[in-house]
Each structure stands twice: as structure tokens, then as C-alpha cells.
Symmetry: C2
Subunit: 417 residues, 2 copies
């Protein structure tokens, strides 16, 4: 069968499966999730064997150490995927719930019922855990899902998908509810993005190149984030000890993720008091500091930042630092260089805190807390399928609820217009 | 200036205006809305004069009577636009409100704050009232808006836009908050759809051709509906008098709109009791009935329906009628031919009502009420900017709330991970 015919067939099967899935009882969905968890744990040996094949090919093809590391599935990886599924099974099922009911003057009773989105396509790169995490969240929200993993992880993903298929079979759910595209072809992605009648949403997860490709070619709505250039602004009314803890955490705890701090903004009147101790601690942790001219005057060890630094998502132990005149200038800098991802202010002044919360345009804005908290699990949404920096449908971490939508349901007693 | 340069300049000006608009106080927004209402009423003579120019050109270009009718601005049209603006001024301002706050185990206080979407592009055809209605709703929700009306209404739209500009100036709001694209060129639409950095959402309003063009060419998310093929299913446990009233209303009250009934589904065991009286009343109102074989057996006057009839959005006094074995077959028909717009069941059986509400995939599902109620005003949302039949972001009527999104706001006391 051609790639085109394969993809069209999968999309139609997914649409049919999604209709049954939309009315699948919560208990059955949870059973399926727990059974997948059991199957992947019971198949640890086979999964690792298939993963070894991918790792071998990857090494021969000269993948970087970082990519090999993301590709590797260890016992702990499998345990973590299984635990994730059990956590999702424990979440509330949003499907079928209605919020408040309101009564219209003519007596109509109106409410909104939460329903699945339908069919979701997930396009991702090397990490095989996305196969399990994404399938679990989509299942819980009552959707069918089509997965297109990276070609470098094909054998591993197929082993994981086989576990999912087995578990769906055992729990009486159509196997077409979770399908993995079996070919490596890039053409398959392109074809997938054309199936607007049968697929409701595309979520790309990976580097900026992949995401821009998907946005440029998709006829289907796309939820995505390009990058996270996150700032912490240390106000002159900040508790400087707290500011130091938060900035250190936001930069150093896990520098390779999208909600890590990339630029620190410091009020001019505390620059001398704050920067030397802060910088010492960062430098001791291996951080390279690139500062504005005022920063470099205070910190002799800092490298001069160029204009390009303010735009940069380092994803590494590098930090740009800028001294600003006031909150106004801090917010202007964020407005110019921020990526609408995560922004934080450290201040004890309630008016400034409220102003920053209200005016800064980002999916999460924090007062006196680390940017690292912009995460579905940390914010209490349960597991997340990604963080959206586009405003339509979802802005910020997307959990099970964000994989659903609502319809209006209306009860009347014969009303007409 | 080239069309491209004009559009880019407008988009950048809109983005800048949207940042100020996001923090515009409610009172100032309401003042602007009321001032626009005053300006259009005070400029009735000029608006009608410009409209006469468009009508003249339209007639010379051979526009159909229906198009001329949609294009015409009368005293009542202006009154209705002004009243609409006053109604929008009276709606609650969603911007800045937060829902419930929840506390994480580490003490973080998390909530979601409603914020404007940013910049919205509206692309529409002949009706000039969209210029005012869309601008009013976008303003209330704190957005900037770029309007591209139909070339046949250009002079009228420019007169209306001039009133908006004057009112914005008088109330201290940037004139770039509402901009009308001043050229007729189709190329302008195409350019607008490329400005993904500066425009957050595109809403096309018009025929299916326009909407498909926008979806195919836009890099920006699009909220739209293609068509409304709406059904009423009359169950064997229906109050037949109620069923007759509702079906008559759904078909006849305003047949040219998207939430009018196009197909009536009738349970086989009541077909003989229900169809003759129902058909008589419809035929007396000028409705042509196209029936399935069973319908034609009962109604000698009915024309035989072809397969194409079940897919058709007549937007006219034509109705297809199908006799079905049971609710199961009714829902299967809706699943195959429905357009996810509006579906209704007439029944006194609570289990069937609940099943229909739960399982039918449409933006509004009604029990014992006319499909004509799927409308923002009728459902209590206030004015609407359109009805979405795609599930992302909004499904169903879109009011002021649907022109906003939410961001996470988090208060901590020094929390780190």
C-alpha cells in the first residue's frame, strides 16, 4: 500500500474508533490504562531489546550523545512510563461532565457538556516515552490518537505500541484507538497533516524545525510551542535571599528545559547588593554569565552580551543578565524578547506584583516562585501533553481537560422562536 | 505603498494597539462602544449616501437581489447596529477575572486569569453590519481587530469605519485598535493570512468558498463553520403536537440561516400519525418535501429524495424527510450526514433524551426545542461573532468570552523545585 493510502486508511479507522471512544465508560478507559502499564512492565526485556536495535543504528548513523541519551530506554524509563499511566488512570474523567446550568427567560435549560476532541495526531522526535504518555492522556480524554514517532526510535516505538494494542484488545477497546504510523517516511507526516476531515488536532513535540514544518504544512489546527525564553525580574523591593534561591533554581536545576530561566533582569538600585553573591553561586555551578554593560561593570567575570543573547533560548548553563531602571523597563524587555512562555517577578510590593501578573503576556506569570513551576504536574493539572504558547484553545500546560472541548446541551418543553 | 507593505504595517500597528488594549479599563471600553453607537446614529445620512454608491455599483455589476438586500443599509439597520453596541457595552467584561484559586501541596496559589486573544482578523462578505458587530465584540474583549469586508461594500464599510475611528479618538483609545483594510484586492486577504507573528486568530464569515480559501491559505489559526445540515428527530415517544410546532418553527421561521432544520427524521411507528398533518402545514407554508421511499408512501405529494439531498444545506423552503427504524438509526444518519452544527430530538423518554444529548456530535444538541435556538443571544452569551463547528478553542456560538483566553497566574513565597 502507498504511504498515502496507509495514512488515509489509518485516519478513517481512527475517526471510527473515536466515535466509540467518546462514549467509553470511565472504568473501561482506566482498565485499559492500567493494563497498558502492566503490559509494558511485563515486556521490559523485549522493549529493551528493540531499543538496543535503535541505539545500534543510531550510533552507526552518528547520533549525538544527547540524542542517544534521549533515545535510551532503561528499567527506570519503563517504570516511569507505567507510573505515569497509573497516575492518568487516577485523574478525574472530564468527559460527560457539565458545568453550571442556566435558565433562559423562555425556560430553556442550557449547559455545556465536556466532550472529547475526537482524533489527535502527535508528531514527535526521539523520546520513546511520548508514545506511552501521549497515548495515555488521549485515551483518558476519550480521543483516538495517531502517533508518528521519530524514525530513529521506530523499533522501540513499535514494541511499545504492541503493548498498547495487546492491552486495548484485552479491555475491549478498538485497536484503532491508538495507532502508530509504521513507516519512517517524512512523506507520512505530510499526508497526515492533510487529513482535515478525520483528524481534529495536531500536536508536534520536538525541535523548532519540526514544529515550523508542521505549522507550515498542516490543514489541521496545531497546538505547539516554539521556544521558552523565560525571564526572572528581581525588583528593588525583593527579598534578596529569596531572589537568589529562585534565580539559582530557575537556571540550574534543569537548564535544558523550556521553563528554565534564560535571562535575569535586575533593578538598578539593588544590582550592587544582589549581583556579586548571585553570580558567585551561579559561576560555581558552572553557569556562564553574559551581561549588559552595567552588569559587566559590577561583575568583572561576566562576558559582554550581544543583541542576539536577549533572543536566545540557551537550554544550557548560560545566562544573560540585564540591569533595568525599573519594572517598566523590565516588562518592556520581556515584551520585546519574551516568547510568551513563563515569566516571574520577585518582589514584596503587592501593586507591582499585581501589575506584572496582569500585564505580562505569557502562558504562566509567577510572583516569588521559580519559572520551573510552569508544568502540568506542578500546577495541579496532572500529567501534561505539552505547553502551548499559542493562545487559541489552550495557553500553557495542557492536561487531560485541554484534550477535550464542550458542546451546548439544551433541555426545553417545546420552545420555539 | 504596495498591498504587502500596507498589510504588514497594519498588522504591526494592530499588535502594538492590542498591548495597550489588553489593559484598557472596562469603563473606557464601554465609553468607546457607546460613542461608536452615537457616531453611527449621528452619521446616518452619510452612511446611507455611501451605501447608495455601493448599491449603484452592485446593481451595475449585476449582483443578485439577495446580495443587494444584504448590502442595503436602512435606518433600521443603523438602529440595530447601535443597539447591538449598547448591548455589548452592558455585558460583563471578562478580561482580568480569575476563576477558582487552588493551592498546591507546596503552598503555591494557582489560578487562571482571562486575557484578550490579542489581534483578530475578520474576513467577511457583503453585510456591512459585520463591521460594527465584530468591532464591538473584539473591543469589549480587549482585542485589536483588522477588518476585511467585501469589495462590494467598501464605501459603506469605510463610512462605518470612519465613525469608529472618530469614537476611538474621542475616548482616548488608539485608532489602530480597529482598522479596515482600504483596498479591494484579494491579494490583501492572502497577505493578511501570512501575518502569524502579529495576528492571533482569523474569523472568516461568508460562503463556503470564502471559508475554504481562508483555511487553505492561513498560517494563523482559523475559527469557522462551513455549513449547517441540522436535523430534528421525532421519536415515537414524542408529544406529536409539540413535535409539529418545533419542526414547523425549525424549518419555516427563517429558512435561510445555518441553524434551520434541513432534514426531519421520523420514527417509523408514528410516521402515519405524524407526517400527513405536519406535511400539510409545511406545504401550506410553501415548503417542498423530498422524502425517502417510506415517506413518499405516506405523503403522496412528496418528491423522492436522492442521496445528494441528505448532504444538502438548502437554506430555503425545502425539507428532506426520512423515516427511521429507531433512535439508533436516527443517530447513525446524523453521524453520516450531519455537519456538527445543531441537532434536536423530540421525545418524552428521559433515557433516550440523555443518550441523544450525550452521543450526538454537534456544537449544540437540544431536547424538545427548536434548532433555531443555537445562537449566542438565544443561549445567553450575549451578542455572537459566529458559530464554530470546529472543536478547537470554541465549539458553537462564540461570544465575548470566546474572544479571550486564559493564562496561569501563580503566587508563591519563595518556592523552588
Amino acid at each position: 500500500m502507498s504511504v498515502e493510502a496507509t495514512i488515509i486508511k489509518m485516519a478513517k479507522a481512527a475517526r471510527a474508533a473515536s466515535l466509540a471512544m467518546a462514549r467509553c465508560p470511565t472504568q473501561q478507559k482506566n482498565d485499559a490504562l492500567l493494563t497498558i502499564a502492566h503490559e509494558i512492565e511485563a515486556s521490559t526485556a523485549e522493549i529493551k531489546e528493540k531499543n538496543a536495535v535503535d541505539l545500534d543504528i543510531g550510533k552507526k548513523n552518528g547520533l549525538s550523545d544527547a540524542m542517544i541519551d534521549r533515545l535510551a530506554v532503561k528499567d527506570a524509563t519503563i517504570k516511569s512510563m507505567a507510573d505515569g499511566l497509573r497516575e492518568v488512570a487516577g485523574l478525574n474523567d472530564p468527559v460527560g461532565s457539565t458545568g453550571r446550568t442556566w435558565i433562559r427567560p423562555n425556560g430553556l435549560q442550557v449547559s455545556k457538556m465536556r466532550i472529547p476532541l475526537g482524533v489527535i495526531g502527535i508528531i514527535y522526535e526521539s523520546r520513546p516515552n511520548v508514545t506511552i504518555d501521549a497515548a495515555g492522556l488521549c485515551l483518558k480524554a476519550g480521543n483516538a490518537v495517531i502517533l508518528k514517532g521519530g524514525s530513529e526510535a521506530l523499533h522501540t516505538n513499535q514494541a511499545l505500541a504492541a503493548c498498547i494494542q495487546k492491552a486495548l484488545g484485552k479491555t475491549g477497546i478498538s485497536k484503532a484507538t491508538v495507532q502508530l504510523i509504521p513507516v519512517k517516511d517524512r512523506e507520512a507526516v505530510n499526508m497526515l497533516l492533510q487529513q482535515e476531515e478525520d483528524i481534529d488536532l495536531i500536536i508536534p513535540r520536538g525541535g523548532e524545525g519540526l514544529i515550523r514544518f508542521v505549522v507550515a504544512h498542516s490543514k489541521i489546527p496545531v497546538l505547539k510551542h516554539y521556544k521558552g525564553v523565560c525571564h526572572v525580574y528581581v525588583d528593588d523591593r525583593a527579598d534578596l535571599t529569596m531572589a537568589e534561591e529562585i534565580c539559582f533554581n530557575a537556571k540550574v536545576q534543569r537548564p535544558g528545559v523550556c521553563n528554565a530561566m534564560e535571562t535575569m533582569l535586575v533593578h538598578q538600585s539593588i544590582a550592587d547588593a544582589f549581583l556579586p553573591a548571585m553570580a558567585l553561586r551561579l559561576v560555581q555551578a558552572g553557569v556562564e554569565i553574559r551581561g549588559c554593560s552595567q552588569t559587566c561593570r559590577v561583575l568583572k567575570s561576566a562576558v559582554s552580551a550581544t543583541e542576539a543573547d536577549w533572543d536566545e533560548e540557551y537550554l544550557d548553563l548560560t545566562l544573560s543578565v540585564k540591569v533595568v531602571a525599573d519594572i517598566e523597563q523590565a516588562m518592556a524587555h520581556i515584551s520585546t524578547y519574551g516568547s510568551r512562555h513563563t515569566e516571574a517577578i520577585i518582589t514584596s510590593d503587592i501593586a507591582r506584583a499585581k501589575r506584572f501578573l496582569r500585564e505580562v503576556d505569557a502562558s504562566a506569570v509567577l510572583v516569588n516562585a521559580s519559572t520551573r513551576f510552569n508544568d502540568g504536574g506542578q500546577l495541579g493539572l496532572g500529567a501534561e501533553i505539552g505547553i502551548s504558547t499559542s493562545k487559541l484553545h489552550a495557553f500553557g500546560p495542557m492536561g487531560v481537560d485541554e484534550l477535550t472541548t464542550t458542546k451546548f446541551v439544551v433541555y426545553g418543553e417545546g420552545q420555539v422562536r
